[in-house]
Each structure stands twice: as C-alpha cells, then as structure tokens.
C-alpha cells in the first residue's frame, strides 16, 4: 500500500503540473479552453460497455486498484465486436474459476466456462430479443438469454437490461453459482443494495432527474 500511495501522489503531482501547464494554451486556444478534455491528447476508441462488470470484476487480475490494470485500457479500446481473444482469454478464465469457487462448489461445467470465456474475450455486448416481453415494473431479464444458451434451454424474456434490475446480484450469482442460478433463489448472493438513489421511471427519458445541482 505504501508504494501505491507514493505512486498515487506522484501521479497527482504530474497531473497538477500537466494541468497548470495547459493554462497558457487555454488563453490562446479557445476550443481547448472550453473543453473538459484538455488533459487528453488521444484519438480513437476509448471505452465500450455491454456486459455489467466485464472489466473490473470479470477481467481484471488486480484487486488493489483495478484502473491501474493495463489490460483494462486495451480491452476498453478494442472494437467491442472484434476483441482479440488471445489477449484476455486467460484472465477471464482465471477469474471465472476464482468466482465459481467462492461457495466451495464447482457450478460451471467445462463447456459452459469455455463458451462464456470465449464470448467475453472476443466481444462485449448485450443480447436482446425484441419479440419477447420486458416487464419494466418487475425487471428480471438481464443475462436471461445468455444463461438459457449456456444451459441449452429456451429463454422467455427480452433479455437486455432494464435500469431498476439488480444487475450486480445477477452477475454475482451467475459467476459464483453458475448459469442456472438466480438472485431470486433461496440463499442467493447479494450485496444488500437493491435500489439506486432514485428509481427509474416508465416514461421517457426513464432515468430519474439529477440529484443535487
């Protein structure tokens, strides 16, 4: 931890110096002065999102300060439909074994593990079937299509992801208790938090108004 703190303070000093060094440029370059991006000199893909906790839980191999894991930046910068599997396969597989073992049981079959690792190391997306029902008032659809595919069963809901669903509980139970597990099961894993600051609404634009100012 001591090394981490020293490194952190060093980084802060560097950022402070870099930020202050931008002030001259701000005075002469209006576009930059108006931008919140003055610290960033980067072009190309920055980030993608699909599966919840794809990076900081499923991919990272460090638990001290996940953002420092260089694998996350390169994963984030990949084309989400064309990620290079060889770069991430081992990390996804290692973590899945770790999470599957939390309850002292092996719930993932070798075939299921291989399919999930292949999926996450090659692409990052949500699956939705728009012909199936989404119940906004009782949201239990997230990963349902993926779980059914891993189990070889038919899915019943739209999949996708709705704002009020407890996607972290879904994720934790999926990783630890396997594709058949549901947060609704007796003895299911939960972090004990089941609602955001404000619940999302059923009318456009769905997400609740901002908090504070």
């Amino acid at each position: 931890m001591k090394t981490t703190k020293i490194f952190a303070l060093g980084m802060l000093s560097l950022l402070a110096a870099y930020g202050c060094s931008q002030s001259d440029a701000e005075d002469t370059t209006p576009d930059q002065a108006d931008s919140e991006d003055a610290l960033i000199g980067f072009k190309g893909s920055v980030d993608h999102v699909g599966v919840v906790e794809a990076t900081t839980i499923m991919l990272t191999t460090t638990t001290i300060a996940p953002p420092l894991d260089s694998a996350l930046d390169s994963y984030n910068q990949s084309d989400p439909f064309r990620i290079a599997p060889a770069n991430y396969r081992d990390a996804f597989a290692k973590n899945l074994i770790k999470f599957d073992g939390i309850d002292g049981k092996t719930d993932w079959t070798a075939d299921q593990s291989a399919k999930w690792v292949a999926r996450m190391s090659s692409a990052n997306f949500q699956v939705i079937d728009t012909s199936k029902p989404c119940n906004f008032d009782d949201p239990h659809t997230y990963l349902e299509i993926e779980r059914a595919a891993l189990l070889g069963t038919d899915y019943k809901t739209c999949g996708g992801r709705m704002p009020n669903e407890d996607a972290l509980d879904v994720t934790m139970n999926f990783l630890v208790r396997g594709p058949a597990a549901s947060p609704a099961d007796e003895g299911a894993i939960s972090d004990g938090v089941d609602q955001a600051t404000q619940k999302s609404d059923s009318a456009f634009p769905y997400l609740a108004d901002l908090n504070g100012f």
């Binding site: 072009k43 920055v46 300060a65 953002p67 939390i102 908090n211």
Partner: protein, 224 residues
C-alpha cells in the same frame, strides 16, 4: 484557477482509486481503466436496452458516461457516442453477425457549452439504419428538464441527452471483497453511489427499423 479545477476533476478520483479506497471504479463500467478514469466524459458507465414500457413497438437504448457529473457537466465535443447494433443469426451461440454491412448505428456528437460553467450543448444524432441516414438535432438544456434536453419525436425516433441520477447501485466495500474472491453477506448493504449523477443519452426507436428481433447491442465512445 480554472486549470486547478480541471486537475481536481480528473486527479481526485484517480488519487482515490490509486490509494486503494473502494470507489465507483468497482462499479458496473465506471472508471474501469486509467484512461477512462482520466477521461470522464468518454468513460461509459452503463448500457440499458429494453422495450419501451409505454409503447411495445419501440426499443429503448441508454448509454451513460461521466460517473461524477453535476448540472454543468457536458458531453465531450471531441467524442462520438455510438450505439452499435448487429443481428444475431444463431440463438444457440448468440454470436453477432461478423458482417459489418449488417451493423446499424446511432452516433451522437456535441458542440458548444463552456466547461464547468454552461452545460448547454447542441446534440446531433445520426441514425444509420440502412438507406439514407437520418439526423436529429436538439439542445441539451430545455425548460422542461432540470439539466437536459430532448428532441420531439421525429419520424422513427426521439432522443434525450443530459444529466440524470446514476441508476447503478452497489455496496462498494462488499463488491471489493467479492472481487477478492471472498463470500459476502447480504445484511447491511449501503449504496456507494448514493447521490451520484451521470450524463445520459436516451434513444427510443421504432423496432420495425431494426435488422431482426434478436440483437447484439453495444455502446462505444470514440475520440475524433
């Protein structure tokens, strides 16, 4: 002074994560890398996809960025915010089509505003769903929203962009423990993101324009 505000905006969350404190970096997709921790306006936090509860003929897609937003926060004028949609041809493998020609997209970009002072921007979203792309433009601040704006329904779609309450929730300490491979207890959870806001882009679109009912959808930010 302005430069110091910038430093604080970017450096303080970075400092927190570097010091190992439980932070939103363990949350969903919030600040999940060094680059995204520094680049908040391009750092995606969540994606939602579902059928509209008010109109079953509409698909809703929501992407959120900037896990530390407030009422003056802006989208980056240097970033394309993309929803990318590909059909899934095989329900057993759930593999998206490898043919880029089958991809449909909605790409939103922004102009205007003043950093930390004026969040009002002009948003332009281009709907490339096959055929001639359609364009929807609107202001990101409008009287009927506290810190957001929306287009009226135009043809196939409508769009909102602005600041909203962060819909993600979790107990940060328990998530860190879980990440370490520890068993966690349900009792005593506390939302570590209570009171946080995000910048959100909400798109509602006719399902009939999409390449099939079974779809792979992702959100991506790309610096221009």
């Amino acid at each position: 002074m302005k430069a110091m505000k910038k430093v604080a905006t970017f450096a303080l969350p970075l400092l927190a994560v570097l010091l190992g404190a439980p932070t939103p970096s363990q949350a969903s997709d919030h600040a999940d890398g060094l680059k995204t921790t520094l680049d908040l306006a391009a750092a995606l936090t969540d994606l939602f996809t579902y059928t509209s509860p008010k109109n079953p003929d509409k698909l809703v897609m929501i992407m959120n960025v900037h896990g530390l937003a407030n009422s003056t926060s802006r989208f980056s004028n240097a970033v394309d915010y993309k929803f990318r949609i590909r059909p899934i041809d095989d329900a057993k493998t759930l593999t998206p089509s490898a043919d880029p020609a089958k991809e449909q997209s909605i790409v939103c970009s922004f102009t205007g505003g003043i950093a930390f002072i004026d969040g009002k921007q002009r948003a332009t979203c281009i709907f490339d769903l096959g055929g001639a792309p359609q364009r929807i433009s609107f202001d990101t601040r409008a009287p009927n929203y506290s810190a957001g704006g929306a287009s009226p329904e135009q043809g196939i779609a409508r769009v909102f962009a602005g600041v909203r309450s962060d819909p993600w929730f979790l107990d940060l300490g328990k998530t860190v423990a879980f990440d370490k491979g520890q068993h966690i207890q349900k009792a005593g959870g506390s939302n570590g993101l209570h009171g946080q806001n995000i910048l959100s882009i909400v798109v509602e679109i006719d399902k009939s324009k999409l390449n099939g009912p079974l779809l792979a959808i992702t959100a991506q930010t790309v610096r221009k």
